[in-house]
Symmetry: C2
Subunit: 155 residues, 2 copies
DNA sequence: AATCGACTTCGAGCATGCTCGAAATCCTAG
DNA sequence: CTAGGATTTCGAGCATGCTCGAAGTCGATT
């Protein structure tokens, strides 16, 4: 997963320049790489199209930066790009679909809750295995652990 | 992640045939696809090399099946293929390196614990966002949620 | 012997989310 | 005007863990 510098994320800081920031500045202020900024745009995560200069360079406004930060937060919860895109589309569609947005969030919440249960179970499993090892080692019983030539009780 | 039919995994069941099972049978009894069985072998997850017939077909013995089941259990905990390979190598090296195996397991445990903390945090974040939405909707305040044309307080 | 399904190896493809490189363009300083 | 850094787009590459397809082989049955 993309690691976003948490110290850079929360507040995009006001865009001083009159007509928006360069992509490099936007990257610096959001904690997202320029590559990823472009990727997010291509992937359709952007609500309001980022403006361009006459020469075709992106100009990020405060609004854009804020939205990107929201995206990074959603990504940080493991929300897949596709889901964020759907969410962005809903937001872009304007007011009136808040229930749908909420449903999207709740669906993601369910995924995360399921993941949580899974990881908890994993931890339980691995702990069990470690316990077996510790027990055997403490008992000087290590030779009862699995060996290629002699299948034994423990793994 | 590979989904292993949990009803098929636990006990490989005795290998009736005199000289081991075909890969199809092994797949059926371990709940792993034939493709994946071959992949695991290529990936070096196997402790004892799976035997071959004169014609080059794999013959799985009970020992092999048991080890594969162990591999599936480790995979089920999210242990990466590389780590399982290292573990298999240690086991293949025979007795005497149990401390190293334990260290490997503990390292993985740490990963899983970290993952757990992360997912818990994610759940917290998404719950917070959902709360905001619920609150706005209940208060008939939905228009204070984010809209492309008018950056607002909530997302 | 011929057939036909199961099996072999090797390499490619898929999904995800970036990450990077190439070639061309922009723009700003000197 | 020119150099050189920043940006652009497009497409490829990377890591992971399978999953699949092609082309050829094995082997049991008829």
């Amino acid at each position: 997963m993309l690691e976003v510098d948490s110290r850079a994320v929360p507040e995009p800081a006001p865009p001083d320049p009159q007509e928006g920031l360069s992509i490099a500045e936007a990257a610096r202020r959001t904690g997202v790489s320029v590559h990823t900024l472009r990727y997010y745009e291509r992937a359709g995560l952007v609500v309001t199209p980022v403006g361009r200069t006459a020469g075709g360079r992106r100009r990020y406004r405060l609004l854009d930066l804020k939205w990107i930060v929201i995206c990074t937060k959603m990504r940080a919860t493991g929300m897949p790009i596709k889901a964020i895109r759907r969410y962005a589309q809903l937001v872009a569609a304007g007011a009136g679909n808040e229930q749908e947005r909420l449903a999207l969030l709740e669906a993601h919440r369910a995924e995360v809750a399921a993941k949580l249960a899974e990881v908890q179970e994993n931890l339980r499993l691995i702990d069990h295995k470690i316990d077996v090892y510790r027990g055997r080692l403490a008992a000087g019983d290590a030779d009862r652990l699995w060996a290629p030539s002699r299948p034994a009780g423990a793994h």
